[in-house]
């Protein structure tokens, strides 16, 4: 079996927020091609900060993030990354189509390519019927679909998804799981979630973070074995809850 190709390599990554917050404390991990890599942890563990640094919207205090075929050129990195933020960061006063079109101008599409990319992505996310509707009038589920559509329209090699299933109904969560599974065929996915069963179900490998540090790293099965746990909830209890400072 071929050795999997490394897509993202994070080495000794640190992020401090002055004056005294160490959000991420020298973490290292790798993400392979066509895998779903989960960053798990409680609130404030440093998951989102790590994702934002990989997405180049936040500069690391120290350490290195290497993205395959992008060197350290932010423009190249952003071209192969699709970033789905935790909140649906959209212009409520624009229509669905205008929102995705606005973001499309960030990429080097020809007019024809742009139209195809937008329409195909909207269709994939079942948004075509809503494309003229103002985003302010959409339900949370459709906003989330549009947010995902914006991240996917340029067919990124790396998808960074920050707690994208939070607050969604089970039906939509299921659809997103299916979508991520489908996307895995063509991209690598780094995502964060609070739902451990979701991580256990979707992720090929995970990194469990606590207070800015990785406390467990590997496939869910390996971590469960290493910690002699039955599921990730138990792992979380042993590695995070039990170690919380009193």
């Amino acid at each position: 079996m071929d050795k999997p190709r490394i897509i993202v390599s994070v080495n000794n990554l640190k992020k401090n927020f002055p004056p005294a917050i160490e959000a991420v404390k020298s973490i290292s991990f790798k993400v392979y091609q066509n895998e779903i890599f989960g960053l798990l942890g409680s609130n404030g563990s440093g998951k989102s900060t790590t994702l934002r640094m990989i997405a180049t919207v936040l500069a690391p205090t120290s350490g290195k993030i290497e993205i395959a075929r992008a060197d350290s050129d932010h423009r190249k990195i952003r071209n192969i990354i699709g970033y789905i933020p935790q909140q649906d960061l959209l212009y409520d006063d624009l229509s669905v189509y205008d929102n995705i079109k606005l973001f499309s101008f960030s990429y080097d599409f020809s007019d024809k390519e742009r139209k195809y990319a937008i329409d195909s992505t909207l269709e994939r996310l079942e948004l075509l019927d809503y494309k003229k509707r103002s985003v302010g009038n959409l339900s949370g589920g459709y906003k989330k679909r549009l947010s995902i559509a914006i991240a996917l329209m340029h067919r990124p090699k790396i998808i960074i998804a920050d707690e994208i299933t939070i607050g969604l109904d089970p039906d939509l969560r299921k659809k997103i799981w299916d979508l991520l599974t489908e996307l895995k065929k063509e991209s690598s996915i780094i995502f964060t979630t609070h739902y451990l069963e979701e991580a256990q179900k979707l992720c090929d490998r995970i990194a469990l973070m606590n207070l800015g540090e990785i406390v467990a790293y590997g496939s869910p099965e390996k971590i469960m074995n290493d910690t002699q746990s039955h599921d990730l909830d138990e792992v979380f209890y042993k590695l995070v809850t039990m170690r919380k400072p009193k």
Partner: protein, 545 residues
Amino acid sequence: MRVLFEYIGFELKRFFRNIRLVFIFFISPLLATAVFALVTYQSPRDIDVGLYNGQKNDLSQHIEDEIKKSDILVIKSMNSADDGVELLKSGAIKTIINIDIVNGAGAIKILEDPRYPEVQGKVKEDVANSIESAIKENTMSKAEETAEKEYEILIDQNFAKFTDSILGSSANPLSNVINTELENNKNQTIKDINNFVDQKTEDKIESFRQNLEYSLTESVNKNFDSFISLIMARIPSGEIADSIRDDFNLYKSETIAQIKSTIFGVVETQMDEFKSQIKSELTNEIDKKFETFKYRLSVTNPSSPIAKAIRGQTDEFKEDLKNQNANIEIDAEPISFESSEYLPKPIRYFDRYSSGAIPLVIVLIFLLRATTSMSQDMESGVLERLFSTPASRSKIMFAKIVSNILVGLISVAAIVLMLKFVFGAALGNGLIVFLVAFLTAIVSVTLGVLISAIVRDLPSSIQFAFYTFFLLVLTSEFFFASENIHSYFTYVTKISPLTYSVAALRKVNLFNWGFGEVWQELVALVGFAVFYTTIASILLNRESR
């Protein structure tokens, strides 16, 4: 009640733990108040004024020296009044003082830049104070000296006229009166003397005649009586004797009468001749005496005693008057103080402020619009999401700036058109007005973006924008000239873009000046826009934020 106190306690705790709130409610007002105090710190001073003294006489030099002693004026000497206008136009000076004094009289002419009324008031007050002593000490004394000289000349002229009227060589009224009086007196005197001579002669003749008559009568009577007695002694008494006696007596009477007649006739004749001679001699003598007297009384003869006496008295009186004139004081000031404004075209009170109102309104609109627009997108995270795409942050920011400007341009056009057509504002070159307004809008938007890049959340950025607007207005020289500002703080007017907008629009609207006079302000505004954009770009590109 305890719950109420707990709520109050928690609210206070929340307040003091929020450093932004503390800044907004304590530090910002203190800073704003401090800035307000600093920009109104002093009565105008270090005012650049141009001074032109074209006449260069003692008095004008004295006044120039007095003005140069001023503590609040910075004097720049000029070679001509035209130089001053050029300096005024360039902004190097705010007032031209033209000392235009010749022969102790004239004017001190102040030409004011109408953009700085507060400064102008101070300049006038200071110049007036400076020259007050000079006018009092020098101008007034010279004026008094001049007035005294003029007064003396007037006295001399009037006295010359007066003496000429009474002592002149031509027939003057006094001389006529004196001569007429003398002539009348002479005639009356002659008449009186003639009458006196007649009277006295008559009296003397009468007395002489009576004496003579008595003596003759006595003598004749005595001789005749002796003769008659001798005769009668020889003639017997009787009728013949009586008749002879009677005849003798008659003869005696006749003889007496004849003698009397003869003698009296001779005497009468002699006396008449004598009287005529006396009269003639007396008349001649009187004529002579009166001529002498007339000569001595003559006012037309300069050497006559009376003319000398009158002249002496008038000269004395004239000198007295002149001496009294030594204490003369004059009321009118021979140097006037004139002030006018440098205004190439007539403007109204409103026009002075409309030029400042345009950039003020523009800054208010665009600064708030850009700040809120950027901050809203930053706070919501949309901007961060856009930044996660390959699009350059500069492009995104530039698009924000341009879109805000384009929206605002409609507002700018509406403001300018309303001022022009509703209120009839005295606007200058329309193209420059619009260009300045446009650049002001760009600067305001870029400043708004910079504020958003610094502050990031909406409520704080609105507060920040308001304080910034407040500070820009205070330091724009629209309300307070730089001369009012604390000396250590004057540079703030130079780093306020609104200063340049207001200055440019005032030049264009008040003076009808063109690109040649406002290019520096336009360049400054472009510079501010570039500077703000650059800083904002650097801040927004700092991904660590």
